[in-house]
Symmetry: D2
Subunit: 340 residues, 4 copies
């Protein structure tokens, strides 16, 4: 981190955990330009520590997926764009956990895709972290299959207070961000979120040590996380309209994340927004942008298990010329600051 | 109304309109057994009064679909069942309004089913009420087609504060009820809602003078409404488990309303709940109840246009023997009180 | 039946059963104006005769839902409208059957809504017919619950050869009709189907002695059926464009049936077609028709279990003025002939 | 290609184009072990050659997406696995074409997602191929934006005759393969398809010079293709059960492609099949396989525009130990033969 950047640390006590986006008083006010060094608990509140800790007995619904925050960003007003650069994501424990929770996940009936079949059994897996090797280890519960998988830390949940006075569970992804569960939210990525309320009131959590695309069983390798996040603000009044849906930028991609049901609607949202972003970046006419998108977009599923499903549309920078910088060049600027 | 029933009247001022379920302080505390005589504004806040009043200029988003309430019900605790008997629904104006709102409705792309096509044009229709004839009049905007349609008053929106600390826009239907937009919510119907927070905090509004099944264009014949509602409570502690999803009972049907996306999930929810209700009413085994449901359920679409879609599953009493009364016989008891 | 109408009888041998729409040589050529008296086997080929006959052992997939036909209609050319008036539907057996088939039905995972849960158990129910009372009797498999339900005969499947050289299983509903499983296909209804190939090649079957809306468990009270059907043809060359999707007309309703997935798309198809039909019948402008539809359409779910789901949009004649007759007045004319 | 492999060439005349899977007589019989050198026309039948060639005037529906084939594979019986190794895919023209077709594509209403909005305008884009640079060039129709994109040849369509006597348009993807439109179908990939009819009757076509994930506008950079394909057969009778859905294997991934609607069902199919494949490859218990899948699967959308949507689930070999070879080691063997 560049030495001029002020770094503020915050670790919530369990009583300070936030369970919703909106509806929670801020834990702190931060100035744009500040770096936050944050600790967040895992989605299970650290209650699954061995394969004997099953969700039914260990979790206290609805108190799952605790968020660290919210933070009140000075000067943030509706219509501004909150900029969060994920400078570092580092596992805060030596193990992660994943679990099958009854009637939750992609390959089972759920409370929404309601069926009369009994649920799949509960089960917990513990993944030991090998920091030196940069891996987490999957161990089969039946038999002796074991495989070390690369550590790929990400934040499943990051968002702001919703619009229209709504308060949403931290399990929900939507236009305010939230529980998108996309591997794109990794170190080196800048997240752009529309500010809906004064101060933006963002929070984050749901660290994943790694995750497949789709988060099939409903849970990733869930783990407490240390996050170093640069906070910035791009003013709508300066001529930068805020995005309707969460956008992300890395050194390699511009990404929009749509969240809805059915899955094709989550996709449509991100695609239409990405058409708009191509128009902004390159001055393209709409149908030209649609055509170009059709030949270049990368669409790795984020989640097909949450209250809304999330689908990123990624535009690969390597295929495109250098455009007018997005959001006043926020990504490159924060990336440089983060690198010191 | 039976003379022993206390009737309390309430008409909100515009400043008292509730725009969400949850997140609003109660306007009043009511005892179970009370009848409420309520006035509710229409979903457009009465701003569409002529065909020249178009939504874009007249409505102030997100301030639409105002609710009357919330009411704190004495003694209501999570796990109880709030019982609301709709004794009378009477139009409170001499006209209703319907409108096409850009990117809203069933036969257009929307913010979710996002496309690149331009929106359909805005348009407003005004329906004059003929109280004597019991009709509202559709008048085509192009040509001279005119037809009087039967007045069939209903409440599009009725619900309680959601669980898990959420606050939802009054435009949303879900397990807490809300904007289900089902013609089943008419005079003579008893609504059963699970209590999620102390006091239940119910509110209602969105009067429709009539509505087709599905609410195709997104708006019914919207009209201010006078509602006479009997409030009661069935305690979970008395051995009556609260329904997971809104249930309704009339002299002719038991109904469950599921709300979700895609539409088949809204249907599945109501169907699985109706299987459960058949088990409760008749002591049927699950698969027998599923089989019986398959041959008797009536499924008139409620809405395919809201944030969640709503599908009622109706069990016709005429086809079934007399069961153990539901919810301690609440419907018959309140129906008798309402009739005086 | 009017004495001038020629009545042709046909009962297929099992070797003559048709398992697809398209891809089958016609069993017979019929002239427009003919009445066909047809026998069709039930969807289980009559193999489920007691509750001990379980689907897995008794059915020979994919040989289910046998159709009677196809019939080559003289003079029928692509773009014409095949008119089939269902004059009489009479049960051809004294019992009907319904069954739970593994991974089939609405309240279970399926081959498409694939999950990892084990299937629900197989089970068969037999419904005894009481012709005098006009009922079929549901008997619970567990316990002694028994209830007589009204006999309401209908055809689950009726359609023509598909366009574009396709051949579809008789289990599929789509724009060619097929396995729509709508209770609208009852005696007194006229079905209008677009002709896709010379001779139309229509067939029918899948008699239901009664069915709930949605056909929840995947099977109705399935029964062999005697059908008396008046066949007619409306020429596209006479200025009557064929409908893109199946339309039906009864004394009480004009109906369009859309079939697709997800369920909202099945609904959208029928609704857009019904808007078009309102325009044709009354000369309404599109958005006026959309508005009127929104306040009058009846949408009882047909099936949410087949390869495509089917949703009828019904326009009630009682709410509307007398229009220009549809399809050259075919319904009234055939209705009169059928009544003799 | 290994010198012992017999290479058979086939270029269809336009009269030999196949428009369906199933329902077409074979153009040729091939022995397992043969290599086919095939030419296939583009999805537009080569009719879009300049930006002035618009779909409405140039295409003759339903005669689009012509297939080369079908080929009768000696010895192939239902229950066997047809193995097609794509050894080489080489553009057969110096240009590719893409187009907007009214009411077709992902970001517009369609015949299924039916709306009342007018269609987007028709438009054609021509992409010039630069063989030396290995690129195709996007040129905006408005303005002077131009960008060279990497050539990444693939086959949009590859499949066998369907089961149950069905005949499906070449525009349809389903369990028989067909129009999956996945970039996984590229040189170096082995495709495994369940044989449904004697001889398998496979065909292929719909070459894409490149495609974004999702094929957003409905068409890729469509181009005539020269394909060198090694044909082989794995007998079910030898203890290798055929896959229910198309599988693919490359040097880097095992992939299953599910196709259905809504998009989540296409995903569920591929996921459940991939769980099964993990069980086969590693002897994992089902829930262990589900858990492992959840942390490793890659899910790049294939198409969200066709009659069914297609979603691949990819298992990356780099993350997993060496398993028992799939399908008797077919991929490695054919890969070695192809490399000569």
């Amino acid at each position: 981190m560049h030495p001029d950047v002020e770094i503020v640390e915050f670790t919530p006590t369990p009583e300070q955990y936030a369970w919703t986006f909106g509806g929670v008083a801020p834990v702190m006010t931060v100035r744009p330009g500040t770096a936050l060094r944050l600790w967040s608990d895992d989605a299970f509140c650290g209650r699954l520590r061995s394969v004997a800790d099953l969700p039914g007995a260990s979790l206290q619904m609805p108190f799952v997926n605790p968020q660290t925050g919210p933070f009140f960003v000075e000067g943030a007003e509706p219509g501004d764009t909150l900029v969060l650069h994920l400078a570092e994501l580092t596992p805060a424990r030596t193990w992660g956990a994943s679990a099958l929770i009854p009637f939750f996940g992609g390959l089972t009936g759920t409370d929404r895709t309601a069926t009369l079949q009994p649920p799949l059994p509960e089960r917990t897996w513990i993944y030991q972290l090998d920091s030196a090797a940069g891996t987490v280890a999957f161990e089969a519960s039946a038999g002796d299959f074991r495989v070390a998988l690369p550590l790929e830390p990400m934040l499943g949940t990051i968002g702001v207070a919703p619009a229209a006075g709504e308060v949403r569970s931290s399990l929900v992804p939507d236009s305010f961000g939230g529980n998108m569960d996309t591997p794109e939210a990794k170190a080196g990525t800048t997240v752009y979120l529309r500010v809906n309320v004064p101060g933006a009131l963002f929070s984050l959590g749901d660290g994943h040590y790694r995750q497949g695309e789709g988060e099939s069983c409903g849970t990733a390798v869930e783990g407490a996380m240390n996050s170093l996040v640069l906070v910035d603000l791009v003013k709508g009044s300066a001529g930068f309209p805020a995005p309707a849906w969460p956008r992300m930028e890395s050194d390699t991609h511009w990404t929009v994340v749509g969240s809805s049901r059915p899955l094709e609607d989550a996709w449509r949202i991100g695609q239409v927004e990405a058409v708009g972003w191509l128009e902004e970046l390159y001055g393209l006419e709409t149908l030209d942008a649609y055509q170009l998108l059709s030949q270049i977009s990368e669409v790795p599923l984020a989640n097909a298990v949450d209250v809304n499903y999330s689908v990123p549309t990624k535009l690969p920078k390597r295929l495109l010329p250098t455009p007018k910088p997005a959001y006043d060049g926020a990504h490159d600027r924060l990336r440089a600051l983060a690198r010191g």
